[in-house]
């Protein structure tokens, strides 16, 4: 992975990380268009003002994405709808490239069945490359809570995949 601190060309860094950043934005927004708006705003802010800051660039850019997503929700007066929006209105099909492997396809589909608080921990850990400590900071929860949500999520995913495989 290119180092964001050193990289001069944002395109190379974005080409390598844009997809996972968009996924992070997508799971905090209601629509594809909102995710694109959030990603654009967050990435531009990160690249202009934050990439030179010390620390984990992943954590910085995730913070930027979360801030933009929350701002968008506030602007749209959708705060109270957030759980519903994030939990029910999402189509994870568009989150990922189509998978030929049925197990991976089932896994992608199962992700949307997770409670939002578990799903965001999964997304931040797997595609945000964040530790439980960093996830805790992002979500204002303790690292132990983050780890617990991760375990619950793994169990739930395993159950879902097993059930789908047997169907």
């Amino acid at each position: 992975m290119h180092d964001a601190h050193a990289a001069q060309d944002w395109r190379a860094w974005f080409a390598e990380n844009g997809a996972r950043l968009r996924l992070i934005a997508r799971q905090w927004t209601r629509s594809e268009a909102d995710a694109d708006d959030v990603l654009q705003e967050a990435f531009v802010r990160f690249w202009k003002h934050q990439r030179h800051l010390p620390g984990n660039p992943n954590a910085l850019v995730v913070t930027s994405i979360r801030r933009s997503a929350l701002d968008l929700l506030r602007r749209s007066d959708r705060r109270t709808l957030r759980e519903k929006a994030v939990g029910e209105d999402m189509e994870t099909v568009t989150w990922f490239e189509p998978e030929a492997d049925p197990r991976l396809a089932a896994l992608a589909e199962s992700l949307k069945l997770l409670p939002a608080e578990q799903r965001e921990v999964v997304v931040l850990k797997v595609w945000g490359d964040l530790t439980f400590d960093e996830i805790g900071e992002q979500l204002s929860i303790s690292p132990n809570t983050a780890a617990s949500r991760w375990r619950y999520a793994m169990e739930a995913l395993r159950r879902n995949i097993t059930a789908r495989t047997h169907d």
Partner: protein, 138 residues
Amino acid sequence: MTDPDHDLEQALRALRPAAPGPAVTARIDAELAPPVARRGVIIAWSAGFAAAAAALVAFVFVAEPAEPEAPAYQLVRAERTRPEVQLFRPVELADGSYARPVRVRWEDTTRWEDARTQTRLIDHRPNDRLAFLPLETN
């Protein structure tokens, strides 16, 4: 012994998030364009507008075609019709004298032509005057 969570995490990592569309990249590109380049674009636009304005001015004031000079009309004919005189009954004026109203009508027609442009200018003026012819009374 295999950690089942580790396997599941690896499977999750195998999922490929959908990449942002080219529109997003283009929008970011527009926002991250170097300021100098933006100024350059503005300068380029300004220069373009200035050039266009200069061309317009040149077209209107400098490059105006020489052709539309005013036609050089020459007077070729001037006509006046025979006056039509109409006499009315005598009337008494305010000072006690008498006069006969006379109405005279005629037409003046003047014609100019410009041989170069084959154009002509015709001035046609109908005239209508009313006058009083004083009458002597005994």
